[in-house]
């Protein structure tokens, strides 16, 4: 009886062992686990290009990393960076071992080589005499995760606050003599050195970027000059909602020089420095779609 059980168990185990062998040929996921072996099994074929990178001696049409001498290896690796484009996971095997480290960062909302369209509501937060509400539309291109260029346009309405009406009615002054901004357009360099993650009530995680922007443009004001050159400084945060959509706020400082329109006083208005603190909040849309994430 014991012999029978032993015999049957042996057969059963042999059938079990046969199954994984077949599976390993089917699944692509196995490549992930077996990356290191793939380096060893498949020698990398690299096409040399003497025009792009000068090779020391021979101009062989095809060679392998293992064939190249130590001095030449770095040159080949530099060249291979240009030739090998990693589009799929299995392409990672074509990178040379221990020379190129391919770090797969799980950044939820990558920005590199993507455009960002920002549509937001905006208001000035430092005009005592007028309420300025409007819209802000920006278009940015991110060269890297940290650097980008952004075109911005802003349009503001203006209505008098209570104090403007009171100074007009009680003191006979024109509140229009106080400078306010009707619009702005400009170009900024965006620097995003800060990347972080926020936890909402110890539950969901919200990835975000914090950026600083510096640039210049023109402000459309109610001053005697109308349009005036403006320096722009800004900061803000971009909170990822999806891989293409984010909530963003921005706080900007616009500095310009302008001359108020002449009023009823005896002294002529003088040209002075003014600044606007503009708060905007809205949504950013990133395109094209992120790949390899």
């Amino acid at each position: 009886m014991k012999k029978n059980i032993l015999f049957i168990s042996t057969l059963f185990l042999s059938s079990l062992l046969a199954a994984p062998a077949a599976v390993s040929e089917q699944l692509d996921d196995a490549e992930v686990i077996n990356l290191e072996n793939m380096y060893q099994q498949k020698p990398v074929e690299v096409r040399s290009n003497p025009e792009a990178v000068p090779m020391p001696s021979e101009s062989t049409s095809t060679t392998t990393v293992s064939d190249v001498e130590v001095e030449e290896t770095e040159t080949v690796v530099v060249q291979k960076k240009e030739d090998v484009k990693v589009k799929e996971l299995k392409d990672l095997s074509r990178l040379s071992p221990f020379r190129e480290v391919s770090v797969i960062q799980k950044k939820y909302l990558p920005k590199t080589e993507r455009f960002q369209f920002y549509a937001a509501a905006a208001t000035t937060t430092n005009t005592p005499w007028f309420l300025n509400y409007g819209a802000r539309l920006n278009l940015a291109y991110h060269f890297t995760e940290t650097l980008g260029l952004e075109l911005s346009g802003m349009f503001l309405s203006s209505s008098e606050r209570e104090v403007a009406k009171e100074i007009r009615e009680n003191n006979g002054l024109k509140p229009e003599q106080f400078i306010y901004t009707k619009g702005f357009y400009g170009l900024d360099l965006m620097w995003s050195p800060i990347y972080g993650k926020l936890s909402h009530l110890d539950g969901s995680i919200v990835p975000f970027d914090m950026y600083f922007s510096l640039g210049a443009g023109m402000s459309n004001t109610n001053s005697a000059e109308g349009n005036v050159p403006t320096a722009h400084l800004g900061t803000g945060q971009i909170f990822a909602i999806t891989k293409s959509i984010a909530f963003r706020w921005d706080y900007s400082l616009n500095i310009f020089q302008a001359t108020p329109i002449s009023g009823t006083g005896t002294a002529a208005p003088a040209k002075g420095a003014y600044n606007d603190l503009i708060l905007s909040a809205g949504f950013s849309f990133f395109f094209p779609e992120a790949s390899l994430r």
Binding site: P128, D202, F208
Partner: protein
């Protein structure tokens, strides 16, 4: 064929069938039906912060700050304050803050005096503010600055209730805002707040009463270029809304 032999054959056949079934499980699945992305597991009770670097529960933080009343037209816009908060847990804190207003006039009010002879120092000015300040801190996280260091941060909403003291009278006030703290270590933090103050306040634009005689055209009805100084109680009152930006340093004890 005896019974024992028959049993053996039956068992061998059964085990062979079993192995055949396992082999059939290796059916080739079309590649487009295989998963191409990894996903995070979803837990019933997720806790995204395991080892909180900045723990505030049961601690008191004290801070000094400076502020600007961004939409104040007449009074000096600069303020300085001190605040202390007790953190009941990681999400709720309650504190007390005292803010002292700088004396003098705003840049606009100085311009009005120079250009039109209107002396707004005759109007009552805010002196200080005392408030109970409640903070709700739903967001806690960390951020990396150029991948060289990690700073913890919290984003919170604030609601304050208290009194604003003017030169002649005190008025109840409400302050609502948003703030963010950046922690440099486990105790020291930079705090920024944007608050909207809502309170009853005197209207400074009184006529006659503000013309100081330096401008012969001052006043709506001539001659009123040198008005007698009015008393503070002569100024009317109304609800005012003032946006404040505050930046300060806090330390957790």
């Amino acid at each position: 064929m005896n019974i024992k032999t028959a049993k053996k054959i039956f068992l061998v056949l059964t085990s062979l069938c079993t192995s055949f079934v396992f082999a059939q499980s290796d059916v080739a699945v079309p590649k487009d039906e295989l998963a191409t992305e990894t996903v995070y597991p979803i837990f019933d009770q997720a806790s995204s912060v395991k080892n909180r670097n900045v723990q505030t529960t049961g601690r008191i933080d004290v801070g000094l700050f400076g502020g600007l009343a961004l939409t104040e037209p007449i009074a000096n816009t600069t303020k300085f304050g001190i605040a202390g908060n007790y953190h009941f847990n990681e999400y709720h804190s309650l504190g007390l803050m005292f803010i002292s207003n700088s004396s003098g006039l705003s840049k606009d009010a100085q311009g009005l005096r120079d250009q039109f002879g209107l002396d707004f120092t005759r109007a009552p000015q805010p002196v200080n503010t005392m408030m109970l300040d409640y903070n709700y801190k739903p967001y806690y996280g960390k951020m990396s600055f150029t991948k060289t260091g990690v700073i913890n941060t919290t984003i919170y909403g604030s609601a304050g209730l208290g009194m604003i003291k003017y030169q002649h009278k005190s008025y109840p006030a409400l302050a609502l805002g948003l703030g963010e703290r950046f922690y440099f270590g486990k105790s020291l933090s930079l705090k920024t707040d944007l608050r909207m103050y809502v309170n009853q306040a005197p209207i400074p634009f009184k006529s006659p009463g503000l013309c100081d005689g330096s401008d012969q055209t001052c006043g709506t009805t001539l001659p009123s270029h040198n008005d007698p100084i009015p008393s503070f109680s002569d100024f009317k009152e109304r609800i005012t809304y003032t946006t404040n930006l505050e930046i300060g340093l806090n330390y957790l004890f």
